[in-house]
Symmetry: C2
Subunit: 294 residues, 2 copies
């Protein structure tokens, strides 16, 4: 190894990478938890060290020079290697104490995870749990979380996934609301009903149609990005919503709409990193989730 060729300050490379990715020194400082003067000096020092002008100081912002742009790929590769080091290091941790981050949809996070975590507390009191409640598919490759619960099968080979039991989802509403729309008995009776949408109505509608419901865009008048908010709209008697059987069972004063309508079955996958799962702490949480939810 020619140590002389790589004797420049590697932290300055990270400063350059952050500046490129975030778009400015100030943004990079915010993202990395450093200060703008530090980032500025580090980038300037890197330019001095490798003899390449990386940014053109034009106006209030920096733009990559062509020379700088040709280094970006290698700089990214270095950052990715650093990420893998961090990942593998976390996977090496055999400590039964410490943080584990679990990403799940808000509905899962609110209704199903808390009791599971309560049991985990009894099994492994030293484990700290952070629930990353998001309906966006969290990027495990970016390490937004250590473990994720998803309803689609992950494709990346770096991830390992365990399929949990399939869940059945039905239509639910309050008895009060159902009587208000004339106690529907067949699907055609739902044409005048209100449906609660989770996320954008245009994304929700095809799912309702696939269930055989004769609905249009106008049937989805109330909607929310949050599944929990949507479910509370249902509980409030604002309309009919889809929900998994398990969650609905936890909710009093909610009845199934058209009980003869076949359910929508959907899978749940427990996902983690191939390298992270070697950590006994994460492995323990992973196995616990699989046992309790599977």
């Amino acid at each position: 190894m020619n140590w002389n060729a790589i004797s420049f300050d590697w932290n300055h490379v990270r400063a350059f990478l952050a500046t490129v990715e975030e778009g400015s020194l100030s943004a990079a400082a915010r993202a990395t938890g450093q200060t703008q003067p530090t980032l500025g000096r580090q980038v300037a020092a890197l330019e001095e060290a490798i003899g390449v002008t990386l940014f053109e100081r034009v106006g209030r912002s920096l733009t990559l020079t062509t020379s700088g742009a040709q280094l970006v790929d290698h700089v990214r590769a270095m950052g990715e290697a650093a990420s893998r080091i961090s990942l593998a290091a976390s996977g090496q941790s055999q400590s039964i104490e410490g943080l584990v981050r679990i990403s799940a949809s808000d509905v899962l996070s609110v209704y199903q995870l808390p009791p599971v975590i309560a049991q985990l507390r009894d099994r492994a009191p030293g484990i700290e749990v952070e629930v990353v409640s998001s309906n966006a598919i969290s990027d495990l490759l970016r390490r937004d979380a250590d473990i994720a619960l998803r309803h689609i099968r992950p494709e990346q080979p770096e991830l390992i996934a365990r399929k949990l039991a399939d869940s059945d989802a039905y239509l639910y509403a309050t008895p009060d609301y159902l009587s208000r729309v004339g106690n529907p008995k067949v699907v055609d009776d739902l044409k005048a009903a209100n449906f609660i949408g989770y996320g954008a109505p245009d994304e929700m509608l095809p799912h309702f149609v696939a269930m055989g419901l004769p609905l249009t865009r106008d049937n989805i008048r109330y909607h929310s990005d949050s599944g929990v908010v949507g479910w509370h709209m249902v509980r409030q008697g604002l309309g009919i919503g889809v929900m998994s059987e398990q969650v609905a069972a936890l909710t009093p004063d909610i009845v199934r709409v058209l009980p003869d309508l076949p359910p929508v079955s959907f899978p749940t996958w427990l996902v983690s990193h191939r390298e992270l799962i070697t950590s006994s702490r994460i492995r323990l949480v992973f196995d616990h989730l699989a046992e309790m939810l599977g």
Copy 2:
């Protein structure tokens, strides 16, 4: 990018890498131009930061833990990315001033390069030249040199090579030595002659045999790793040596042995990095060498 995951000190990764590659903190300190306490503290800080014990302090030396060993691949990848940054940065340099390192065999370095460099001085006075004189094939991928002169075609796709003119090598000796062995006229007359070997005799002998010479191990009594030393042995009348026509022409009082013997033809390749050759400084030296030696 999850900056939090890669917020450990990247220089400490280099310290770890150097310690792994060099085998000890002290050796790593020597190799990287730092001090042993610094390296020791950096490795300890990295262990603290990523929560993994990298080395087992046993006796006077360090041995990698299994956890540490599983990080080494990623750490090497980071180092290689750093090397590529350095390489690409050098290639981006459009300065006509600065250092260019040329690797060549000692014979080329001593007899043929100096006049070529003298002409280069007139063409580009700002260029500093370091001649890495070595008969080992220098590792351009490790950046032991910027440009190399070789007699075998490089295979790595990262390297670019330009073929120079083929050279003819003949047998040479002093007239004094030839008369001492009876002025040989045909190859069989050489059976009793001494041959000068460059490098190990066992490596040299097959080349002589390939030339049709009836020699054995015993014919090579004087040899040296250095081609220059070997050639001076020939000049001193210690035996017969192989030398390229061009170099022999520079040497007075040396005559060709068996002038009718067909020459051994060998190629010369001018080699550099694909990314380095984009530097105008290195490009200039590369082209100058090609012109003067081609």
